[in-house]
Each structure stands twice: as C-alpha cells, then as structure tokens.
Amino acid sequence: MSNVALELTNVRKKIKNKEIIKDVNLTIRQGEVYGFIGPNGAGKTTTIRMIVGLMDLTDGEIKVLGKSIEKEYKDAARNLGAIVENPEMYPFMTGRQNLSHFARMYDDVPKGRVEEVITLVGLDQAIDEKVSKYSLGMRQRLGIAQAILHKPAVLILDEPTNGLDPAGIREIRDYIRRLAVEDNVAVMISSHLLSEIELMCDRIGIIKHGELITEQSVKEDSEEADQSEIKVVLDVKETEEAIKVLASLELKAEKEGSQLVSLMTRETIPQVVNKLVESGVTIYGVTGVKPSLEDQFLELTGGNIIE
C-alpha cells in the first residue's frame, strides 16, 4: 500500500450557523485518482476550498503529505495544485504570461517547465493569445497547466471536465491517469456527472448535503468483477425454451419484449451460451450490462436535485 497523500479527518464547516460540511472523513493515497461526486450544492467546492486553504475549517483537520493545511500552511500548500470552481485567469494577459505569473510564486519552478506544461495540455497554438479570447475548454486546459506547474504531490480539480468536448475529456482523462501512474500523484476530481469521470477514477466518494454517504472502488477486469453478478440481456428467438434452459442452471430470467434479462456472474456466461446452443435456441445476441455507477449514483442521491 502506498502512502497517504491527502487526509481529511472529521472535517466540518459552518457558515452563518448552517452546517455545510458534516463530519467528512476521507483519505487519498499517492497514485490514486479519487472521484468526488455530488449533486449541485452538495458541498464539493466548499470541501475543496478548505483543502486548499481558502476557507477555515470549523472543526477537524486536513493534512497534505502529513502537513496540516491550517498549522503548516506553506509546507502543505507547496505540495498542492488546484483548480477551484471555474478556471479564471487574468483575461488581459496571454496564456504564457499567466503561467509565468504563477510559476514566479514558487521557489523551485525551473525555466523550461512553463513550456513543458504548455505542450502537456496541448495549448501550444493559443498560448500567446490573450486569455479573454480563450474558449471555456482552453481556459480549462490552462487551469490544469497552472495547477501542475510545480509538480504537486496532490492535485485537486474542481469540475475540470466542465466545458470540455468528449475528445477533450478523453485527453484530460489520459493525462490524469498518466500523472497518477507515472508520477504517483494523488488526484481528487469533483464532478456532478459521474459518467464523465468514472473512467479515470480508482475510487469514488459520493457527497450529499455535506455528508460523504458512500465510497467505492471502480473495478475493471479484476477477479472480483468475475464473481459479482451482472445484468445480461439475451436476444433469442425461442424465449420460452431459453427460460427453461436458464432455469435448469438455477438462473431466473425475465422477459422484456422479445429479449430475456437475467442476472449472472461473468464466469457463467459461456456456460449459458453453450447450453442454449445445445438446446437448439437461436441466439441473436448476448449483452452484459454492468450495473452502472450512474444508476447507483442517481439512486443514492435521489437524482440531481438541488435541495
């Protein structure tokens, strides 16, 4: 197990007697990408503002590489890079001037680093244009560029996919995975759209009304995945016959139109197909549907309702 990079312990935030964050505990390890999901107004940005030191904590503690953001601010902030809410930059300056401006705020950002990040986020073409002429997607990239200038150990991105097209999202996703895998960076990404960040996260936490209501791993092709039941849609001609075959394998099936829907583990799918073929059932298609995190998310949060 790698080291803890970011740790929130019993974090609370009250603004004007309203509890906005209620006892959040959360740990992110080095090299881990953590999705921080919640509907509008759940408290994602508030949590992030506390992590980066823009807001005081009402109670609890936040540590970055073991340094408290409140008591050892400089040591903690040195290892943090962040976008908080919209990636606003100085509109009257070029992208490059903006990056140089922020690079000057660190002791140890070498000269060539600015050029390096410009290429990394793919802004070579527009970097000498004024930011006021940038599209939202370009500003988002510039926002990421300023967040990684000083190679932070912990990267906090508040809705970084906001305003990006699908190709842009894929690029950011690949880039973030690389940061985590190659540079061992701990990344926290917030979003209210699970589907957009699901693919880049190792783990997600769901926040609602200021409470972290569940955390779970996002597993892909792991052994566990072979064991857990997934929904399988069978498109067959002889539905009645197929139901009997499934019953003989102790599997329940439901008819949905001309298709059959059944729950089974991944391992048993080949067996089922064999049996169906042996019994002379005509198969047009077999589709495994992973219980999508999106479904679970909507179930847990009760939809994207602002309360």
Partner: protein, 314 residues
Amino acid sequence: MSNFFSLLYNELFKIYIRKSTWVMYIILGLIAVGGAIIISSFDDVQPTEYTDNWKEELQEENEALHKDNEEFGYSFNDDRIMKNEYLLENDIRPLNYGAWQYTLENVGLVAIVSLLTIIIGSSIISNEYKWGTIKLLLIRPISRNIILLSKFIAIFVFGLFTMIYLFLVSMLGGAVFFGFEGFNPSTVIMTANGIEYVPIVGEVMSEYGYRIVNLIMMTTLAFMISTIFKNSSIAIGVGIFLLMGGNIITGIFSQYEWSKYLLFANLDLKMYETGNILIEGMTLGFSITMLIVYFVVFVALAWLFFNKRDIVNQ
C-alpha cells in the same frame, strides 16, 4: 526573500500590462505638457526674458506691478515685488523662466498622481476578486501577509514611478517650450524667515515631497476600504472625495480644539515651514505621530480583514 521581488514584479506586471494604465499616463502627460503649450502660445502670459540690462528691466517690472496693485486696490503683486527688490539689493541676476520653474509650478499635478495611485490602490485587491483570480493567488505556498504586503508596496512603487514620470514630462515640456536653466540653478523664494536665495532643485524636491504625505495617506485609506469591502468603486469614491475635500472638512471643524486629531489637519506638513499653523499648539512631531497612528490603523484593518476571510465568490 528573492521570492518577494517576484511577487512585486508580478503585481507591477499586472498594473503595467493593462491598457488603462497607459491611458492614464497619456492623460497625465498631456496635462503636464499642456500648461507649457498654453503659456507659450499666448503672448501676454509669456514669461519675461531678462537680458544683460536686467537691473533696469526689474525696476520697470516693479513699477508696472505697483501700478497694477494700485489699479486693483489690492496688493496681490507684493511677493513678486519683494523678490525683485531682493534680487536688485543683492545684485543677483534673475533666472529666466525654464524647465525647472515650470516643473515647480506643476506641483499641483501631484494631485493627479495621487488620484491615479488611489485608483490603483483601490483595485489591486478587489480586481482579483472581480477576475476570480484571488483563488489562484491564495493557494500558493506564500502567506497572505506577504501577498498583501507585495500588493501594498507595488501601489507605492507605481506612485513613485508616476511621480518620476510627471517630473520628467514637466521638465521635458518646460525645456522644449521655455528652455533649460541649467543643471543646478538657484532662485529666490518666500519662506517663514523672509526671502531666500536657494537651489531650485531642493525647492522642487521639497514641494513634491510635502504632497507625497497626502498621496500615501489617501492611498492607504482607499486600499483599506477596498480590502474590507472587496469593491473598488466605494474606495475610489471615498479616496477622491477626501483627497479633494479634506481641506474643506478641516476648515469646517478647525474652530474646535479636537479637530487637530483629524487626519486632514495633519496632512500638510509644509505649514510648519511657512508658519501658517492650522490650530495653535500643533507641532511637527504631533502631526507625524498622528500620521503614523492613522497609517498603522489603516494597514492593520486591511491586514485583519484580508487574513481572516474565507475566500468565497463575491
């Protein structure tokens, strides 16, 4: 500490990269040269050119001035007459009007430098809120105190640059339209001790210097207001109002003993040189102490509010 200069550089960069700053400089430049253009294009306000016959010329001038005084029944030319008499008595050839004297007369334009510095001081923090960049500024491994200090100092570096600019443009405009009196000319001035013959450079320095007190205090006040309210308009408004109206406010209350504790009563340190002390019992030491107290209070309030605040959207 090398990092602090980077911060200062950043702040000055953000001031001087904007077009609005250069528009302000162009306007100030036009005003500073404009006086020279106007004076030199109207014959009857042309300054006298003294020749080798200067003694006669001075006497003629004094006669004309006396006549004026009598005609208007008011001795508004007395200073001029006394200066001329001093020159004649001491056998000092009068200085022809030129760049230095023009620059000295332009000292009133320091009010415009103050105005521009107040505008910069009022917006240096609130703009970061307006642009949303305050978040990106305050997540760096630099304490808020240092960020605030770098901004505060940047304001006065701007003020200093603008002052130097006003001086240079005035000198240049004066030299082009009236000529240059030399590098260290002397002239006669009125002081509390009567008329004195002094190097004009020192006079320029002291006249400009006295006005810097007002510039520093009003800018610091505006900086404090904008830091507390995150809004530049209120700060600019209050700053300009007090810059222009400070004397009036002092005038209204000057009959009361306590008015010597007002900020405005202490802004004009020149009164201790000329002897026109506003309220009896005030001393230079008293005024400097009052100024320091006000300055510390303004800075402390700005610091308190900036340091404690949660950074949220407007």
